[in-house]
């Protein structure tokens, strides 16, 4: 492993934070402390953490409806995340967005979205901006297998290829779009095959193996940053919870779920670290305990935070405009 011990520990820690955060969200949903819908990332941690550790801090990501992992992996903070999910004023988006609308532009996270595939063209536009501004950033565009059946996915890949833009399309293939299996609604087995039509090279990696994800995204990023255009990486992965809290998961078997639980990215990576004598089991337990504490502190912060002031309901719909551009008295 080429990474330093410090780096490896940080990956493990981050994956644990995501897992524990998502388990806590599940608990808070059950207790009705978190209202609404939350699509949980548990099981897919290696993808976000591997990918976000393969890029520069000033690189961009676009996220999805299942975006908690992306946000945390790109440097998002647990308390602000949890407060946002609880609809509190201290949340990332002042409680307006909740689970599916978290952005952290200061960290290069351009945002999640509630509409499948709607961020794919946005990522392409960010990459166009990078190219025009000549900043040598790259854009990691996360999306699922389901998004690759959407029309704008194809428009976007084509545009990125024609304009040779620095975007890495990261397909998190977790086998299901809500309940419909990818092999029941996609004409190809590997989503990566779809990139061929746009002359975009592709790679497939084990989305349960963080180092494999990281290495693959590093290669992809190198190409994109080097001016050779977009690239497509498919990460084979699995979501442990259902699509949302009301999902009975009748479309998949217990055996299949167990098979993927056995490939747990955190367990696998922990074993690799102990096998290579980088960490002891005791040290791993300590790391998990610290992550647990952080998640509990985030929960406490969120619960104790105030709700937004209803007086602010209409704030931020529009950016402020100077009077020479806008009559402030007009009805908006």
């Amino acid at each position: 492993m080429k990474e330093s011990k410090e780096e490896l520990v940080s990956y493990l820690r981050k994956m644990m934070e995501i897992r524990l955060f998502e388990e806590k969200v599940m608990e808070l949903l059950a207790r009705n402390i978190i209202k609404g819908a939350s699509h949980l990332y548990a099981g897919e941690e290696a993808v976000a953490v591997g990918a976000c550790n393969a890029i520069r801090e000033d690189d961009y990501i676009t996220s999805t409806h299942r975006g908690h992992g992306h946000c945390l992996a790109k440097g998002g903070k647990l308390p602000e995340m949890m407060a946002e999910l609880c609809g509190k004023a201290t949340g990332y988006c002042k409680g307006r967005g909740g689970s599916m609308h978290i952005a952290d532009v200061t960290k290069g996270n351009l945002g999640a979205t509630g509409i499948v595939c709607s961020n794919v063209p946005v990522a392409v536009g960010a990459a166009l901006s990078v190219k025009m501004r000549k900043t040598e950033q790259v854009v990691l565009c996360f999306f699922g297998d389901g998004a690759s059946n959407n029309g704008v996915f194809h428009e976007s890949l084509n545009m990125a290829a024609v304009w040779n833009l620095p975007v890495v399309f990261v397909c998190e293939n977790n086998l299901y779009g809500m309940s419909v299996a990818a092999n029941r609604c996609s004409a190809v087995q590997d989503m990566a095959d779809k990139a061929k039509a746009y002359n975009i090279p592709s790679m497939i990696c084990d989305g349960m193996d963080i180092l494999n994800v990281k290495e693959t995204i590093e290669k992809a990023t190198e190409r994109a940053r080097g001016g050779d255009g977009p690239i497509f990486v498919e990460c084979k992965t699995y979501r442990y919870f259902g699509h949302s809290r009301s999902d009975p998961r009748a479309y998949r078997t217990k055996e299949e779920e167990k098979e993927w639980r056995d490939k747990c990215p955190i367990k696998q990576f922990s074993k690799k670290l102990t096998d290579n004598k980088i960490l002891t089991e005791k040290e791993i337990d300590q790391i998990e305990k610290q992550a647990e504490e952080d998640v509990e502190n985030a929960e406490k912060f969120a619960i104790e935070s105030p709700y937004p002031d209803v007086k602010e309901l209409k704030d931020d719909i529009y950016a402020p405009s100077p009077s020479e551009l806008l009559n402030g008295g007009a009805i908006r």
Binding site: V152, N327, A330
Partner: protein, 324 residues
């Protein structure tokens, strides 16, 4: 003062803003080599090159989505959708992304982009190339909506739209590109949300915008012969809407007619009428009248197309009804 065409006023606005700010660029179908389906980007490609004037594939959703992505990362895109009828293909990006990002992300994201498009009937090109869908845009919080009727307004408002930090939908009218009008040579801006009184009058207020402003002006001239003095107000921007100017006029006239080329049901006129009733019911001496397009897909045949959209006589009739 010199006179130039509406389409050339648009070109000038973009040209000047591209010279002023290197972050401004143009993208869309046939905007570069062809110069825009109606010539509203002519010469920009030759002047600014392919990096800043970008022909795209026929991918409306990706055009708008990419404009958003560029806008939130420091550029100021002007995206063109050739006909507003094609905006259906891009509505998710416009309504769910451009309009909502700033609010949903807690005010931390800014989306400074202009979506230029054109609408309206008059060329016998039927229901996929002739609609006036501005009511759809006006309905959505987070978007601004601009619809200029003259070369002067087109230039000044487009420059303001480009400089503004919000997503602006800028709808031109296909029958106005060849309209000539006075446009000063010096740099000027028309702020969004300022209506223009195109003709002063005392008996009735007529609100009209885009091409219907000109239909209304002809009607107003003819109404003078019947001793009816109409005040014609062009809101110029439907969002933000300068309601104050409309109310001030209605206070004087007591009567209101609103003209629009959009389908009558849930028309922009319905909203303006309701706002006037909410804010100035006591000013009205007669029920508000709307003159709108018939609720029918805009047909091709010239006689049917003419019958589907408002004309001078419709406006005159409506005014006479409220002035009885």
């Amino acid at each position: 003062m010199r006179e130039i065409l509406y389409k050339d006023a648009l070109v000038e606005a973009m040209w000047e803003e591209m010279e002023r700010d290197e972050k401004v660029f143009v993208m869309g179908e046939d905007v570069a080599i062809y110069g825009g389906a109606y010539g509203a980007t002519k010469g920009l490609y030759e002047q600014f090159g392919e990096e800043r004037v970008r022909d795209t594939a026929i991918s409306e959703s990706a055009i708008v989505g990419a404009a958003i992505g560029a806008a939130i990362t420091g550029m100021r895109p002007i995206a063109e959708i050739m006909y507003i009828d094609f905006i259906t293909q891009a509505m998710d990006q416009l309504v769910n992304q451009a309009a909502k990002m700033r609010y949903m992300f807690g005010g931390k994201t800014t989306v400074p982009m202009v979506l230029r498009t054109e609408g309206g009937a008059g060329r016998c090109i039927a229901a996929h190339h002739s609609q006036s869908l501005e009511a759809w845009i006006m309905h959505v919080p987070g978007l601004y909506l601009v619809m200029p009727s003259t070369p002067y307004d087109a230039k000044g408002l487009l420059k303001a739209s480009i400089r503004d930090d919000n997503p602006v939908v800028f709808i031109e009218h296909k029958m106005l590109y060849g309209l000539k009008g006075e446009v000063p040579e010096d740099d000027y801006i028309i702020p969004l949300g300022v209506a223009d009184i195109k003709k002063e009058g005392s008996d009735v207020t007529i609100v009209a915008y885009s091409r219907q402003l000109h239909v209304t002006m002809e009607a107003a001239t003819e109404l003078e012969k019947d001793n009816i003095s109409a005040e014609v107000i062009d809101p110029r921007t439907l969002k933000p809407l300068d309601l104050d100017t409309i109310l001030t006029s209605v206070k004087k006239t007591g009567k209101l007619v609103i003209v629009s080329e959009g389908y009558k049901t849930c028309n922009v006129a319905s909203e303006i009428a309701m706002l006037v009733m909410e804010h100035g019911f006591d000013l009205l001496d007669a029920p508000v009248k709307r003159v709108c397009a018939v609720d029918v897909p805009v047909p091709m045949s010239p006689v049917l197309e003419d019958a589907a959209i408002p004309n001078k006589q419709n406006v005159i009739n409506a005014v006479k009804e409220v002035c009885q």
